[in-house]
């Protein structure tokens, strides 16, 4: 199995190839990343198919690849629940937001809100939502990156985080959205090839019969020590918490700033639509195969592989790759492990780059350009500020990841990012696009109540107070034992929007609602692709 102490040269070599290719792309993109259209939105010249790949690359994090495979390996069915939630969420995005966002917005979520609401409060509220989601998600990914590189290559945790952060910032600062998009596309292709090849190897071992894979996984999951089950309830033991998580997953994707931002990179709403469908196919195929990897790990590695799989089973997939290639110490085993490790590394880089870009756009476009400079800054100035913002945000995230250390639970923090996105961003965006009466007070109340309640509930949750997920109540209060706040904070986000709107005497700007409504449904007046 994986040796922790010394550096794995083969894995290092694969990492170097990934970095060389992505840096070449960044160099190529850097000449164009000098105005806001290119820096935030790749000139809106990405095709629907390319964007579908990039969305998949932006969305399928290391938590998806290694985390879900690990959870299925350890717990069976419950790990697969995440896959379902992450996938079905794309119906929410497609039906309710994707095309409307493309038609109504320019660079950020705040553009859509401030279209018809009072600009300053609307932008501040949207920026708060964006930054909170990006912060949780980014820190989670950085910690995940540190743990993985440490395990797979052999570098120290701190060094691993710094390497990841440095490359992430290089892509974003020098290459903007153009480099980020192509890093995401390459990563999506690599990830799909990797998981398909692994699945073929696994299925070949069970005679090509998926049912046989289920049988063998179950047989290998027997025994007193095993937590594996084909039925739910072994990992997510708290019923209400499970429902809360399910709700946060299905609505949260529609509030993730780095995903929504991708819809501004295509030329038309039609391209936005086809990119969601492309992403659905890729992401659906991917999540379907997470079962094969997880069950394969259970059937092939068995209960004996649990310790080597590490916390949350994150290393189950790389260990399985090593075993499929011929086992530890063999050339095939080492090579397969190194390739899967390289793909995991590319996966992390693509996701963190997208996150930093979305956070820096909120700071530069919404706070600096629109609020501080009141639109008087030049285009070039905004790009410079965005790059500085990306650097500052990136360094802060690296620092928190290093200080928080390996103890931070990655999949838990991703679940929280989804809960905040679903509670703060999603209600305000949906209502701004569809509810005539909606006003600024409603938007601000909704976002603040969504973010505030989610954060407060996280602070008093058992996991912060030392309880493991599913453990008996060890939170701040006897009466509260939820780890995911979604079931309370999402309704509060909507309630805040509605009550705030109704209590305020403010009348929304009718004329601007007409414009937003017609524009979002028909695309008339939407931002155009720049001509190259």
């Amino acid at each position: 199995m994986i040796v922790f102490a010394d550096v794995n040269e083969l894995a290092l070599g694969v990492f170097a190839v990934v970095l060389a290719v992505t840096l070449a792309i960044t160099f190529w993109a850097s000449r164009r990343a000098t105005n806001t259209d290119n820096f935030y939105a790749a000139g809106r010249g990405i095709t629907g198919f390319q964007n579908g790949l990039a969305i998949s690359g932006d969305y399928l994090s290391a938590a998806s690849f290694l985390g879900i495979a690990g959870l299925i390996y350890l717990y069976g069915f419950d790990g697969f629940l995440y896959s379902i939630g992450f996938l079905v969420a794309f119906l929410t995005v497609m039906f309710l937001l994707a095309e409307r966002m493309r038609n109504a917005g320019k660079f950020t979520i705040a553009d859509v809100l401030s279209f018809r609401l009072r600009e300053r409060p609307a932008r501040v509220a949207a920026a708060i939502g964006t930054l909170n989601v990006a912060a949780f998600y980014l820190i989670a990914q950085m910690v995940g990156a540190g743990v993985l590189i440490q395990a797979l290559v052999g570098f120290d945790f701190t060094i691993s985080v710094i390497i990841t952060g440095t490359f992430m910032l290089t892509y974003v600062v020098f290459g903007g959205m153009i480099a980020t998009t192509w890093v995401q596309i390459i990563k999506a292709v690599l990830l799909m090839i990797g998981i398909v090849v692994m699945s073929v190897f696994v299925l070949e071992r069970v005679g090509g019969n998926p049912i046989e894979l289920f049988n063998r996984a179950e047989a290998a999951g027997q025994g007193a020590e095993s937590t594996f089950s084909l039925a739910p309830g072994t990992f997510l033991k708290n019923d209400i918490d499970l429902i809360s998580l399910g709700l946060a997953l299905v609505l949260g994707t529609a509030g993730l700033p780095h995903i929504l931002m991708r819809f501004f990179t295509v030329p038309t709403a039609q391209a936005a639509r086809s990119s969601v469908v492309t992403a659905m196919f890729i992401i659906g195929g991917f999540y379907l195969l997470t079962t094969v990897i997880g069950f394969g790990a259970r059937a092939i590695l068995g209960q004996g592989g649990v310790e080597a799989a590490g916390t949350g089973g994150n290393l189950a997939a790389p260990n399985l790759a090593e075993e499929l290639g011929g086992g530890a110490g063999t050339t095939g085993g080492d090579l397969f492990l190194a390739i899967i490790a390289g793909i995991a590394f590319a996966t992390i880089l693509a996701v963190v780059a997208g996150l930093v870009l979305s956070a820096s756009s909120a700071v530069a476009h919404d706070i600096y350009s629109s609020l501080i400079r009141k639109g008087q800054d030049s285009d070039r100035e905004e790009v410079v500020v965005a790059k500085i913002a990306a650097l500052v945000i990136g360094v802060i995230a690296m620092a928190i990841a290093i200080i928080g250390g390996e103890g931070l639970n990655v999949s838990f923090m991703v679940g929280l990012a989804f809960a905040i996105a679903a509670s703060a961003n999603f209600p305000a965006l949906l209502l701004a696009l569809t509810w005539r009466r909606f006003n600024t007070v409603g938007a601000v109340t909704g976002v603040l109540l969504g973010v505030g309640s989610a954060l407060l509930l996280i602070i008093i949750s058992p996991i912060v107070w030392g309880g493991a997920p599913g453990a008996p109540n060890t939170g701040a209060f006897d009466w509260y034992d939820l780890n995911n706040p979604g079931i309370i904070s999402i309704p509060l986000g909507f309630l805040g929007c509605i009550v705030g709107t109704l209590l305020s005497s403010e009348r929304g700007n009718e004329r601007e609602f007409h414009e937003l409504y017609v524009r979002s449904e028909t695309g008339l007046g939407a931002e155009k692709a720049i001509t190259h």
């Binding site: 105005n35 259209d37 095709t47 629907g48 069915f77 697969f80 629940l81 379902i84 939630g85 079905v88 794309f90 119906l91 929410t92 497609m94 039906f95 049912i211 046989e212 894979l213 289920f214 049988n215 084909l230 039925a231 739910p232 997510l236 019923d239 209400i240 499970l242 429902i243 399910g246 709700l247 299905v250 030329p267 038309t268 039609q270 391209a271 639509r273 086809s274 969601v276 469908v277 659905m280 196919f281 659906g284 379907l288 079962t291 476009h365 350009s369 639109g375 800054d377 905004e382 004329r511 007409h514 414009e515 017609v518 524009r519 449904e521 028909t522 008339l524 007046g525 155009k528 692709a529």
Partner: protein, 139 residues
């Protein structure tokens, strides 16, 4: 860029009769047809998904029952979620191409884009001419 955006918007707001478009029969039909698909579609997928989640939370024995050897009820229902995403996604795609897009083009047929990034302008023509915008691949 923000500065350009503001000018652009004020300029466009002058030129386009948004309220008129909104009141037009074509736009009303577009919204009605879109709602007729999206609202039932959303209700359906959220219901089917949340039903699955509720069964996972409260009917764990049922979800663990066998359909065939190691294949459980839970996994079978999980596979229906994948199928649902696939079918609804393709259905929405074809509905958009065949119904929503043509209606949206009709609703804004009086306005065409000059193509210089300055936003839409009112057409001089009689309005009987079909719009020339190509949906995708405008590059």
């Amino acid at each position: 860029m923000a500065q350009d955006g503001v000018d652009d918007r004020a300029d466009r707001a002058e030129r386009v009769d948004w309220e008129g478009i909104e009141a037009s029969p074509e736009f009303k039909e577009l919204v009605r047809k879109k709602r007729g698909f999206i609202i039932p579609g959303t209700v359906f997928f959220l219901t089917w998904y949340m039903l699955f989640i509720f069964l996972c939370a409260f009917a764990q024995d049922f979800m663990g029952e066998r359909v065939y050897e190691g294949l459980t009820v839970g996994y079978t229902l999980a596979l229906t979620q994948f199928l649902m995403v696939l079918v609804l996604g393709l259905l929405y795609l074809s509905r958009s191409k065949n119904v929503f897009d043509p209606l949206a083009e009709k609703a804004i047929a009086d306005y065409s884009d000059a193509g210089d990034g300055s936003g839409p302008r009112r057409r001089q023509a009689t309005g009987a001419v079909a719009p020339t915008t190509t949906p995708e691949g405008a590059r």
